[in-house]
Symmetry: C2
């Protein structure tokens, strides 16, 4: 690009690979980083690289961890009879923000998607089955996203778990709290109706 | 934050310092970076850190440079009788994108802003005066932003340059090409009227 020197072009190229950062934002960021004191840029680069190096997957649930077990699996106060199945570690954070759920998690690291060639072997379903078969699990809560892949993945896992005789549940779909009924899409609204509870 | 491990929290903290990246985007980015292969994160961190280290300011114009002179000042085909004064290196890139201007630049690295305690000594005005006094300059084009600080800075520099007997010009203000008159603010429209040219 005209007027851009090579170190900045390299920053732009690297930054524009990140999700949600287009060419324009990457340029703005690169030019900003160019004006930062050297130490600040070193700290940023170090946080990213050292941070990435320090992250492992929990051997039990697949959540991000620093050691062998994630903070949640290592917490003896959590109920290990409940396993909440989610797509990725970000979803663990979302459920944790609620400060209500006290069970454990199982992170699939993806959802079934035949179109993209992602089958049961590509996500951590076998690991889930092993955990359940090892015993001590009363309920598996399927909290994959309420989209096509998420629903298909939940249905697939439910089918595998049912014969084991444990409780398998799916998070409720409905109109988000605080939102306006007028703006709810039809599928959500129809799910909200179907899932209505007596008052 | 609940469910966030320390390496990710560190990434989020570092990323959220960048302009236009709030807490939510920083989190999304950090979780994405956590999923990237180690080499990709190393490349990103290296591009930022090595890039920042490689960037210097051109000794002549203050634009970003790799060596002593920026690519534009080092280009012998550029007309050194014209100097376009801009606030920062990003503006150099904006003017260069036009592929029309063939003169040199002078980057102020800021604009006068008494409210923020930024006076003439804090931006590269002395360096501009020295360049002009060294001779060979026919015209200085003031291309600071059309906002309060940009206008004040342009007016201040114009007052300093006028006694030296060189041409001092200001970029035109007006309705942006391709935009709708209806949506132009009054100040822009009034400038567009005042700056009208005969057809």
């Amino acid at each position: 690009m005209a007027g851009t020197i090579e170190p900045i072009a390299r920053m732009v190229a690297a930054l524009s690979h990140l999700p949600g950062i287009g060419q324009k934002s990457a340029q703005r960021l690169a030019y900003h980083i160019a004006t930062l004191p050297l130490e600040e840029v070193r700290d940023l680069a170090t946080a990213l690289w050292q941070g990435r190096k320090a992250i492992r997957l929990c051997e039990a649930c697949g959540n991000y961890a620093v050691g062998e077990r994630c903070e949640i699996c290592a917490d003896e106060k959590r109920h290990n009879g409940q396993i909440c199945v989610v797509r990725d570690p970000r979803d663990v954070m979302a459920v944790e923000r609620m400060h209500e759920y006290r069970g454990l998690y199982h992170v699939l690291h993806g959802t079934l998607s035949p179109m993209d060639g992602i089958g049961p072997e590509d996500i951590r379903i076998n690991e889930l089955m092993e955990r359940v078969k090892a015993g001590g699990v009363d309920e598996v809560i399927l909290a994959t996203n309420p989209d096509v892949e998420g629903e298909a993945t939940a249905a697939y896992i439910a089918r595998l778990l049912k014969p084991l005789g444990i409780k398998v549940s799916r998070i409720a779909h409905g109109v988000p709290v605080g939102s306006d009924l007028e703006y709810a899409d039809e599928v959500t609204l129809s799910r909200a109706m179907a899932g209505r509870t007596e008052m």
